[in-house]
Structure formats: C-alpha cells, structure tokens
Amino acid sequence: MKKNSFESSIKRLEQIVNDMENSELDIDKAMKLFEEGISLVRECSSKLNEAKKKVEILTEKNGKIEKNEFSDTEE
C-alpha cells in the first residue's frame, strides 16, 4: 500500500512534467500542476529521507520467531 503510493506519486509526477512540457497550458492550469507536483516531490523525498534505518534479525526462541536488533560484530 505504502510503496504503491510512492510509485503512483512518481508516475503522477512524470505525467505532470510531461503535461507541462508538451501541451499548451494557460498559466492558471500550469500553476495548479506545479503546486501539485511540488507537494508530490515533498511527499516522496520525505519518504526517501525518513531517518528510520535499522537492521534486525529473526531468532527462534521456544519455537517462536522473534525480531531483534542486530549488530554486525565482525566490523
């Protein structure tokens, strides 16, 4: 769901850029597209730049699989 919306945002953005480049637009329409595009760019880049970064490892405990933080000790 989340990744779909990212992908569709990019698709929409491409559409906007193509429209701006290939069709005769009055300024109102162009400004509207531009605004929409800018908010899409913001949305996408905030997703790309989300600080969340983690490495986890699945470990089995009493027949159950658990998620734990992982650190690469061999560094």
Binding site: F6, V17, E21, K47
Partner: protein, 406 residues
C-alpha cells in the same frame, strides 16, 4: 613329490594365464578412487595409482584414451574410472587400463544439476517473462543467509551506503549441509507469509566448493524462490558460480556484495529520478512564466497600450481636417451666393426706373397711374411728369397718335 604329476608353469605362462583370467573376469568395470602419483611420459601415456583409505591399484591411461578426458588429472582428485583390469605380464603386476575418467564428485553433481536444470526450465521456472523488476522504491529488504558468513557481512557493509530509510531483516539459515535446503526454502516461505511488506529478498552465501553451494541447486529451494511473491535476488558464491537458484530468481547477482550494490543503485536511481523530475518541473514553470511575461510585455509595448494618445491625436487631426474642409466649403458656398446676389443686384439696379430716368427718360402719370399710352389722355388733362431729380405738372395741349411700328 613327483614332478611329472604336477603342472609346472613357467613365469611367463602363469602371468599370461592370470592376465587372461583377469581380462575375462573384469572386461569393463567402474572404479572410484583418488589419483596419486600421476605421471605422463613423453610417449603420451600416463601412469598413476588409484587409491582409497586401505588399498591401491595401478592404472594406465594410454594417450589415445587420454584425449577424451575432460579435466586435468591431478593427485588427490577423486575420480570414477571406466576401464578393464589387465595384467602387465613382464612385471607380473595387474592394473586397470582406463577407457574414460571423470571427476567423481563433480560428475555426479553435475549430472544432477543438469537434470534438474532441464526439468525446471521445461516447467517454465526460468522464464524471463516471469521475472519481476525491482520495486521503484525499496524500503525494506530481507536477507536469507548464514548469520556468521562473509556474505552477510559484505551485504551489510555495502548497504551502509544507503543513509536513510532502509530496513533490513535478517533471516539466519544454514547454507550448507543436509538441512540447509529446508532452512533456506522455509525462510523464503516464512517471509512471504509473515512479512509481506518486504520489497525484495536477498538469498545467498559466500564462495565455496560445488558441494558447499549445493543447497542452492536443490529443487526445494528453487520452488520456494519460484513461489515467492517477494522479488528475489540470488547471490551465491563468486562470479563464476551459477546455481539453479540463480536461474529461478528475479535477479542474479554475481556475489552478495553485488546484490547489496543493486539495492544501493536502485535507491540512488529513485533519488536521482525524483530530483530530475523536480528540476524539470522547475524549469518548465519558469519557461511557462517567462512565456507569459513575454506575451504580457508585447501587449504592454503595443502602440495601443503604451501611447494611447496617439490614437486620438490621429482622430483629432482627422476631425480637424474634416472641419477645415467643411468650413472651406461653406465659405465657397457663401461666396458664390454673394457673387450671384451682387450680380442680380446689379441687374436689378439696371432695371430700376430711377436708373432709366437718369438716362433722360421721364414717367408720366395721371390720377389713375402711370401712362403707357396716349389713349386716355385728352387735351387739357393735367398730368405729372417725373424726372430723375424731380416732378413737373403739365397741361396737355395736343394728343398725337402714332401708328405702332413693328
């Protein structure tokens, strides 16, 4: 002991008979063992021993058969030999004469590999059309490999290049040994069932012998990859190692590091694409705005808007000209009327009786008015005669008729 009763063999004879027995008994045998003391003579023939833990047998590989061997025989290599047992009569030793030879481990495994590969290929597991592209935005990846192997270490090291927004879930499995295929396949299934939000899965291990990598040539693993809804990048061993898993997976990475680099590149591509779109959009809007400004400027500098007075100046001039024309015309008309009037006045003047009188004519009148004939006049009538400068009264003394002359 009576020697006459016994059969006495010569050495040559007995060795020849043994040779026959051996050759008749073992005309075609397969023997497996390890090569040792391999030596090729200038004649092209090779001699070596084939041994196992407890025993050994001499072997000869004649040059004519040696041509068909597909690997380089070396000491220590496990081989399967196809040949016949024979004896070397001169020395009284027996040996195997080699017809063909292949590396035993590789030979068997290679055959299994080819069989499975052909089977899965014909089932369509390797179809290019089935292979999925990587998602546009990879946010979460899973790694199925050994917890302690070099592969995991390499992958994480490369993934460090992605600075933000990346989740890595490691599913540790054994990557060699009997159980490894079940663990690998189980991990792929588990992740599909319980972690559907994973964008892509790396499945692999570091380099090793063909036997070490074997789990990735197992059908169980191949089918698990085939059935995975999550796209799979396989990364087994080194560049030269191709496994069944590589053929089934959506993307084959040469090594675990390369697999991680694919993720990093994918992210960079996504970021670049986004900033390129932004750049284009910015320049587009700039172009559109400057086009509009230009249009506006053209309007602003047009004569109508920049010098509007010019328009009515022209009009005024025109109106002026028109007025002028009308006035001139009026004057002309008036003048011509005046001239005409004067002319008429002159004519009128000429016709005036007073004017006539001044030329010596006189007007006679009686009480009834101006006299135009003598008819009414009789002697002694009093008439008035008007001259230009006065009147006289007169008394008629004689009336004379004159015939009108025409």
């Amino acid at each position: 002991m009576n020697l006459e009763d016994k059969i006495v063999y010569t050495v040559s004879r007995i060795n020849s008979e043994i040779k026959s027995v051996l050759e008749d008994s073992y005309p075609a045998v397969w023997i497996t063992g390890e090569i040792s003391g391999f030596k090729t003579y200038s004649s092209g023939h090779s001699y070596f021993n084939l041994k196992d833990e407890n025993s050994q047998i001499s072997a000869v590989l004649f040059a004519g058969f040696g041509k068909n061997i597909k690997f380089i025989p070396q000491d220590g290599v496990q081989v399967v030999i196809y040949g016949k047992i024979t004896a070397y009569v001169q020395k009284g030793s027996y040996q195997i004469q080699v017809f063909s030879m292949e590396e035993s481990g590789r030979g068997r495994l290679q055959e299994t590999f080819e069989n499975l590969k052909n089977k899965l290929q014909s089932e369509g597991l390797f179809d290019e059309a089935r292979k999925r592209p990587l998602p546009f935005f990879i946010k979460k990846i899973a790694v199925v490999t050994s917890k302690d192997g070099a592969a995991l270490h390499d992958i994480l090291k490369v993934l460090n290049n992605v600075k933000s927004c990346l989740e890595v879930l490691i599913y540790p499995v054994r990557v060699q040994g009997e159980q490894s295929k079940f663990e690998i396949a189980g991990a792929i299934e588990y992740l599909n069932k319980n972690h559907g939000d994973i964008d892509v899965m790396l499945v692999g291990r570091g380099g090793g012998s063909l036997e070490d990598l074997w789990a990735f040539n197992e059908e169980t693993v191949a089918r698990a990859i085939y059935n995975s809804d999550i796209p799979v990048i396989s990364c087994v061993g080194h560049e030269i190692d191709y496994t069944i898993a590589d053929f089934v997976s959506d993307i084959r990475a040469a090594t675990p590091s390369v697999a991680a680099e694919i993720i990093v590149k994918n992210r960079k591509y996504t970021e670049d694409k986004l900033s390129l779109l932004l750049e284009r959009m910015n320049s587009d809007i700039k172009n559109i705005l400057s086009m509009c400004t230009e249009k506006l400027d053209r309007f602003k500098t047009s004569r109508a808007l920049s010098k509007p007075h010019l328009i009515y100046e022209d009009k005024i001039q025109y109106v002026d000209e028109c007025g002028e024309k009308i006035l001139r015309r009026l004057k002309e008309i008036i003048l011509s009327k005046q001239t005409k009037l004067e002319l008429n006045a002159q004519k009128l003047n000429l016709l005036s009786p007073l004017n006539i009188l001044s030329k010596g004519y006189a007007v006679c009148s009686d009480l009834k008015g101006i006299l135009k004939s003598v008819d009414r006049i009789k002697n002694d009538d009093n008439i008035g005669i008007k001259f230009a400068d006065g009147k006289v009264r007169a008394k008629i003394t004689e009336v004379i008729y004159e015939e009108k002359q025409l």
